[in-house]
């Protein structure tokens, strides 16, 4: 019901709003009754200043006919009484007006709430975007809903300036990592604080469709009010709440995706494998393995782990087997089974999401409730994840001054998964494809040891499930005794239960039926009281105050139970296992108390000032160091409000802003400062040993951040640009300082040194084309972030280096050092491939080379052969050893961002979005396992070994891989060392989203009572474009130095998605 119509209802002074509403209803119903009479409707459409609007679309819902306003804003249309007319014009809020028997209409269209009037959530309050002086990015739902993602973090990738999101593991239910402006710490957490509806929680809790808005607070003035834990930025998530409306809005969304995995390295086939190994084993120290059971030998039997063997005289090739001529005994035929682990492990999976939400409200009670269900079958056989979530927010006005606000959220996830990614994916992927998977009778083959088994055996013998339940309850009382004054008290309780259950059936390697279950319960209890007051003095002074206190208590309890010896495979629970091995419980607690306040002052609507202060006390730090002060100030100047700017028609809005402030970080263990003695066991007696050295001087880590920014809106808000330059210096870094190995402890957590993170954020969005039917809106996000270590405690090393390598004679490298950036990757560098005997004899002594000659079997340590990499000699001492390593790259990108284009034409919308990351590398351990025929010859090389390896003199000009050796770990360590030959630059551009959606025309839905139907088809993570070919064959988002588990983890997932959204 629009305001125009409401104003036509006779005003009854003092009438109760509800009465007025009823009267309006009556009028409408009357009008409806009068329908079916033809009316010639005429009128004028103007804007709120009275100016005529030209080209306004007017559509009759019943007949589907329409017209547009002429240059004077006038229109004329034949319709029927009772029909609804829709008036729409780009940039203005559309109106629906019902036709009565009156034929003259005067319509005023309001300009659409522009970006400057939007309300932005800031810490403990809200501000109008116009007056924000900090660096705050707001994301509205249309950027994140209807994406085939299970949690909202994935949908944010590349969409927020200054925020880098990357996934290390794409398993169903996993969450990507978030780094806001690079984080602030060296070896402790860089995760931002995530607050959902005022409570610190996890982002995986909610179905993305429940989100009303997300604000990312990036600079000190926005985050300092959160003091502790705010150094890595703050993400504020607000879920949908009810608003006053006549009809409840009910939205149903359903979406389905077909998922496939991104392929990894191309690997040799069974035949290629057998040929490669057999020809290279001849003359090597491992030639005898061809005469024993093995992946490329010819003697395997029916019960062997591997299949290849010679075809007997007169025997026919068994069904399902392949054959080839033996490359070393050409008169023999080898037969084998090809069981490719890639085919066994990866299967396309289905992803589904269903969500039903209702919001509505009267002036007294406003509500929003929803139910969501997400199910992800993943792309690896027998893994999956389902989530059921329910949420409801209710706001009740008890009196016109007192409001009660409540929220309830419940999430239940179930995750049948694997207890170890390394054992269930990593070790299986690298296996030779000639292995046997099932015996002739169909039973699964156990493989050659308990942690390297074929997929069917592993999966049929182990059951592992994870469950998580999360519950959030919060309630607030908001009291507004006077105009501008608000008092709020809030209490919330959040509980997260994680359980897992594991059961191993009796099998070849272990008949004891190992079973365990763990339960982790985390609880957070928060009490807050806030007072805020806003007032305007003298017409040009806007003052606001806010003050509050917060009491946060977090506790966790872990239970572990383990037993074995059960008698049956049918009962997986521990009651059937009589041999109780372990029963353990561990509890921890932490407490955080904060007091905070903020003052804001706006003069004449264009000069902005803000200051805030927070004092936080944390139980984690040593005596005398528990309290920290975190102040911040910021200022802004809305230049576009100045008289001299009024004539610049191009620029609608120009704001300069700057801020400086301090935030803190306490993300260490709850008792780190106090040291620890932990319980151990000897001869079935309980003992205690010193496990952590105390540090009573442990205190807050502080980050001081300077931010200078400029916001520009131009061309009647068709172009909006926001640019920030920032620099963050963290002092008293919480750092795990290595201790000498004679001290009894490996490290101590201490405050040392300082590190700087700095960069720029840029976000630009605009409307390039806007006509009545068609619009094109590009947007660009660009973030640059670098870091450098400023100061470390004095030690005797150059640049006060910590960790890394101490090279005799100076020139240390690795670890962290003053003046150097963090996250470096260290390894050897290859100069060239040795091509001939002459070069081999002149090559440098290589400590990792065994020098075993294939000609005479002698071993001369350090000797090199043609086909080896000649490594670079860093310290020019003629010897290649651990001290000849270099910085090969960094694991963290320096540039990230995204570029999107939204096209709309009539009811269609097309959104194409790419995101990118530049500057990071990864050293892949699995490249080494594949290509060096590792694990006693059982691993399977990549196809590159066939095409790019050095084989004979002269190949060095074109080869990029060294000579292939069977079981290479025992030879020259060409692969078996950290080097640039397995470090890939991961610069990538990802075609992240392509989405086409269509809004069904209103006229189709008219009589059904449905407001809108939107159908969409989308693709997600469709392709990675990288310069380095191998970067596409692993996960280009990695961002970690430990690739052992990361390499074994789930590969990236490509999705093809379709769905619909219905609003009633």
């Amino acid at each position: 019901m629009n305001s125009r119509l409401l104003s036509k209802v006779p005003r009854v002074p003092g009438a109760h709003p509800v009465f007025r509403m009823l009267l309006t209803l009556l009028c409408c119903m009357t009008a409806y009754v009068l329908s079916a009479q033809p009316v010639q409707v005429k009128g004028k459409v103007t804007d709120s200043h009275g100016e005529p609007l030209i080209g306004v679309n007017i559509l009759s819902e019943q007949s589907g006919t329409g017209t547009i306003t002429n240059p004077e804003g006038l229109f004329e249309l034949a319709a029927e009484a009772g029909d609804w007319l829709t008036f729409s014009f780009i940039g203005y809020t559309a109106q629906r007006i019902q036709i009565t028997n009156r034929s003259e209409l005067s319509v005023v269209l309001e300009q659409q709430a522009n970006a400057l009037d939007e309300v932005v959530a800031v810490g403990y309050g809200q501000q109008s975007r116009r007056f924000v002086t900090g660096a705050v990015s707001k994301i509205t739902p249309e950027l994140i809903v209807d994406r085939p993602v299970s949690n909202v973090v994935s949908a944010l990738q590349g969409k927020v300036a200054g925020v880098n999101i990357f996934s290390q593991n794409f398993a169903p239910g996993s969450t990507p990592n978030i780094r806001i402006r690079g984080g602030s710490s060296i070896n402790y957490s860089n995760n931002p604080l995530v607050i959902i509806d005022g409570v610190p929680r996890s982002m995986t809790d909610i179905n993305p469709n429940d989100i009303e808005s997300i604000e990312v607070l990036k600079d000190a003035s926005a985050t300092a009010v959160y003091g502790a834990r705010a150094s890595n930025g703050v993400v504020l998530i607000t879920t949908r709440r009810g608003k006053v409306s006549q009809r409840p809005e009910i939205v149903f969304q359903s979406s389905m995706s077909y998922q496939q995995h991104h392929k990894g390295y191309p690997l040799v086939s069974g035949e290629e494998f057998i040929r490669l190994i057999r020809t290279n084993a001849v003359g090597s120290p491992f030639e005898s393995t061809l005469y024993e059971d093995g992946p490329a030998s010819h003697v395997n039997g029916d019960r062997s782990v591997f299949t290849p063997r010679w075809l007997e005289a007169g025997e026919a090739v068994p069904a399902g087997w392949q054959q080839m001529t033996d490359p070393i005994f050409p008169d023999k035929t080898i037969i084998f089974q090809e069981n490719d682990p890639v085919d066994l492990l990866f299967k396309p999976g289905l992803w589904q999401n269903y969500h039903l939400g209702a919001t509505g409200g009267s002036e007294k009670i406003r509500y929003a409730g929803s139910v969501g269900y997400t199910s992800d079958n993943g792309t690896v056989a027998e893994t999956g994840w389902t989530r059921l979530s329910m949420a409801s927010n209710v706001d009740i006005d008890i009196t016109d001054k007192l409001t009660f606000s409540s929220g309830v959220g419940y999430t239940n996830t179930r995750n049948p998964t694997e207890s170890s990614w390394v054992n269930s994916i990593g070790r299986q992927l690298i296996m030779a494809p000639t292995w046997r998977i099932r015996y002739d009778d169909g039973t699964p083959v156990p493989g050659f040891n308990a942690t390297a088994t074929p997929p069917p055996f592993w999966r049929e013998t182990r059951d592992y499930d994870q469950y998580q339940t999360r519950l959030n309850l919060d309630g607030s009382l908001i009291f507004r005794p006077l105009e501008g004054l608000m008092l709020k008290g809030n209490a919330s309780y959040y509980r997260s239960d994680f359980e897992d259950e594991y059961f191993e059936k009796s099998h070849f390697f272990a008949q004891n039926r190992n079973a365990y279950t763990n339960q982790n319960i985390g609880q957070t209890r928060q009490l807050e009281a806030i007072a805020s007051y806003n007032t305007k003095i003298g017409g040009s002074h806007d003052i606001s105050f806010m003050a509050g206190i917060s009491d946060l208590f977090i506790s966790s309890r872990e239970l572990s139970l383990r037993a074995d010896g059960g008698a049956t495979d049918i009962i997986p629970t521990l009651n059937a296992a009589p041999n109780k091995i372990n029963a353990s419980s561990v509890k921890t607690e932490e407490s955080l108390i904060g007091m905070f306040g903020r003052i804001g002052y706006i003069y004449e609507g264009k000069y902005l000032f803000q200051a805030s202060l927070r004092r936080d006390g944390s139980s984690k730090f040593g005596a005398g160091k528990k309290w920290g002060y975190f102040p911040a100030v910021s200022a802004g100047w809305i230049v576009s409000e100045e008289p001299f700017m009024k004539d610049v028609a191009m620029v609608d809005n120009l704001k300069l802003r700057a801020s400086y402030g301090f935030t803190g970080n306490n993300a260490i263990g709850p008792y780190t400062a106090q040291g620890a003695y932990s319980s151990v066991r000897y001869a079935r007696q309980a003992g205690l040993r010193a496990t952590a050295i105390p540090n009573q001087n442990l205190g807050w880590e502080r980050t001081g951040q300077l931010d200078a920014g400029i916001d520009v809106g131009a061309f009647r808000r068709k172009l909006n640009i926001s640019f920030d330059y920032y620099t963050k210096i963290t002092d008293n870094l919480l750092f795990s300082n290595p201790l000498p190995n004679t001290s009894g402890f490996s490290s101590i957590t201490t405050n040392i040194g300082s590190v700087k993170f700095y960069g720029v954020d840029l976000s630009a969005e605009g409307t390039l084309v806007q006509t009545a039917d068609f619009s094109w809106k590009p947007r660009l996000i660009y973030s640059l972030n670098r870091n450098v270590v400023l100061k470390l405690p004095e030690n005797d090393r150059d640049k006060n280096r910590i960790g890394g390598y101490s090279v005799p004679g100076g020139d240390d490298f690795g670890g962290i050092a003053e003046g150097e950036p963090l996250n470096s990757i260290i390894g050897y560098k290859a100069d060239y491939i040795i091509d001939n005997r002459q070069q081999a004899e002149n090559a440098r002594y290589d400590e990792l080379a065994l020098g075993i000659s294939l000609e005479d079997g002698t071993a001369v340590k350090g000797r090199k052969f043609p086909g080896d990499y000649e490594w670079a000699d860093r310290n020019s001492d003629g010897i290649i050893n651990e001290y000849d390593q270099f910085v090969l790259g960094y694991t963290v990108p320096h540039t990230t961002g995204g570029f999107g284009n939204m096209f709309s034409w009539k009811g269609f919308a097309l959104d194409i979005f790419v995101d990118f990351a530049l500057g990071h590398s990864a050293m892949d351990r699995y490249w080494m396992y594949y290509n060096s025929n590792a694990f006693v010859g059982r691993t399977r090389p990549t196809k590159y070994v066939l095409t790019d390896s050095w084989e004979k003199e002269g190949d060095a000009a074109t080869a990029s891989l060294p000579k292939f050796y069977v079981q290479d770990q025992g030879m020259q360590s060409n692969y078996y060392r950290d080097s640039d030959q397995r470090t890939w630059k991961l610069n990538y551009l990802c075609l992240r989203e392509v989405k086409l959606s269509y809004d069904l025309p209103r006229s189709w839905l008219n009589r059904s009572g449905i407001n809108s139907v939107n159908i969409f088809v989308a693709g997600n993570t469709l392709a990675y474009f990288t310069k380095e070919r191998h970067a596409r064959e692993i996960n280009p988002e990695w961002g970690t130095t430990n690739t052992y588990d990361a390499g074994a983890g789930y590969p990236a997932v490509r999705k093809f998605n379709f769905g619909l959204r219905v609003a009633l």
Binding site: N449, L688, P740, N741, F745
Partner: protein, 468 residues
């Protein structure tokens, strides 16, 4: 609001629940007992598996098994470098720190039973002496630390390598403390330190001091220690060699390391048995033990030694083999191979000192004094159990011949028990008997070890062992 602020200070004082803050420890006698058990737990971590590097894999008795682990070549060839397994002394110093904590704090605790306090201190002195005894023989110059580390601004947090004499002085004084403090009449199970263990360590240390460092008067001290064990009459040889290893409460054990699958998990011995997939199914544990991996095989030197006399009941209890025609050979270790009940359980306690060694020490000492006949008598007691024959060795053997016999019998008796390498050095025959060390007497510090890269990277005041 005031309520929250007022009680705020105490709200952020939280003590740990599942661990003990260092400031809350060392209050009662129970704390001391718990710390003692913690010390043994660390003793097991430091010694139970690591001894293979220092005393077994360098002896020439081991070679590559079915699973070729290139890293072990350095030990087999005696060409160690800073990256070799065993070069990091981290576990030893963690244990020493725990001992130092006990020695600092336990005297300050009130005990209702004063002798219990002495006992705990004696055990800590014993363990510390034992640990330094190994450290000094392995690395030569080592940091000698007697003060525990409790904060990062302590003096000597970054120590240098001290002269060997400092370590030996500490070992001697710690042994004296252990011996004098241990309350008379109290005894403990063999897996906890007891008077017999202290005396055996003393004999071991002083024999070394006499023969390797040529210290005057050391032999007499060693003799006195050994005689105390012999006269104490608490120990005797088991009649079955097998029972020494399969029966955990036998009368021969003087000091052992407790192992149980739930506590200590796996053992280094799993490198001497076989992987399931490498052995045809019908031979699994019948007789080829499976459940791990075959990294170590045994050299001809080892086979020839152990199987020299077919009557030796120790041979088949130490290592064994199976040949499947035409040419598949499986060899494996037996002594500490545990048992297989649906999976392999490494439950056998490991021997640090046992009575057979007391007899062998006595023989060694007698021979040093010139009483070869008396020496042979003691050797024959061990030989009797082994070969089933009395007077196996001729009493008329010369001193040099008796030395050879002792060395050989010790090798057969204590194979896998971490004795032979020290024996070789003690008898001065390491360059003669170990094939990969022949002719290498002049290589500087070849018998010692390099320190790990990790050691130097964390403390650059530590210098690498000269020669490496």
């Amino acid at each position: 609001m005031a309520l929250l602020v007022g009680s705020s200070c105490s709200k952020i004082e939280l003590a740990p629940i599942s661990t003990i803050a260092t400031g809350s420890m060392w209050r009662t006698a129970d704390d001391a007992l718990s710390a003692k058990i913690g010390m043994y737990n660390l003793f097991r971590t430091a010694f139970a598996d690591n001894y293979q590097w220092y005393t077994e894999s360098r002896t020439g008795f081991y070679t590559f098994g079915r699973s070729f682990y290139e890293r072990y070549r350095a030990h087999f060839d005696n060409r160690l470098d800073a990256a070799s397994l065993g070069s990091d002394w981290n576990d030893f110093y963690t244990l020493i720190n725990q001992c130092n904590l006990i020695l600092k704090y336990v005297p300050r605790i009130d005990f209702t039973d004063a002798q219990q306090q002495n006992q705990i201190l004696a055990e800590a002195y014993f363990i510390r002496a034992y640990t330094y005894f190994w450290l000094v023989r392995i690395w030569g110059e080592i940091p000698v630390l007697t003060v525990p580390f409790e904060s990062d601004d302590q003096e000597n947090l970054y120590p240098v390598r001290d002269p060997e004499s400092m370590a030996w002085d500490l070992i001697k004084s710690d042994l004296a403390q252990a011996e004098s403090r241990y309350p008379a009449g109290r005894t403990q199970p063999a897996y906890l330190a007891n008077p017999g263990a202290i005396l055996m360590l003393k004999a071991d240390v002083y024999l070394w001091l006499h023969k390797v460092r040529k210290e005057a008067g050391a032999l007499a001290t060693a003799e006195a220690a050994v005689n105390s064990v012999l006269s104490g009459q608490s120990y005797q040889l088991e009649s079955s060699f097998r029972a020494v290893f399969r029966n955990e409460s036998n009368r021969e054990n003087i000091f052992t390391i407790y192992r149980e699958a739930e506590e200590s998990g796996s053992s280094w011995f799993n490198l001497t048995i076989w992987r399931d997939g490498d052995v045809p199914v019908q031979y699994h544990n019948n007789p080829v033990p499976v459940g791990a991996d075959n990294v170590y095989a045994f050299s001809d030197l080892a086979w020839n030694l152990l199987y020299e006399d077919p009557a030796d009941q120790r041979a088949v209890e130490t290592i064994d083999s199976l040949v499947i025609p035409p040419n598949r050979v499986f060899q494996w270790g037996v002594k500490y191979s545990g048992e297989y009940t649906s999976q392999r359980r490494w439950d056998q306690d490991q021997h640090v000192y046992r009575f057979a060694e007391t007899l062998m020490f006595k023989a060694e000492i007698e021979n040093e004094k010139g009483n070869s006949a008396s020496a042979v008598e003691f050797i024959n007691r061990v030989a009797q159990r082994a070969y089933g024959k009395s007077a196996y060795y001729d009493a008329a053997l010369s001193k040099e011949e008796v030395d050879e016999v002792i060395l050989k019998e010790r090798a057969k008796e204590f194979f896998f028990e971490g004795r032979y390498w020290w024996d070789l050095i003690r008898f001065g025959k390491v360059f003669e008997k170990v094939p990969s060390l022949k002719g290498r007497e002049n290589e500087q510090n070849v018998l010692l070890w390099p320190v790990a890269y990790n050691t130097i990277n964390r403390n650059n005041k530590i210098v690498q062992t000269p020669g490496y």
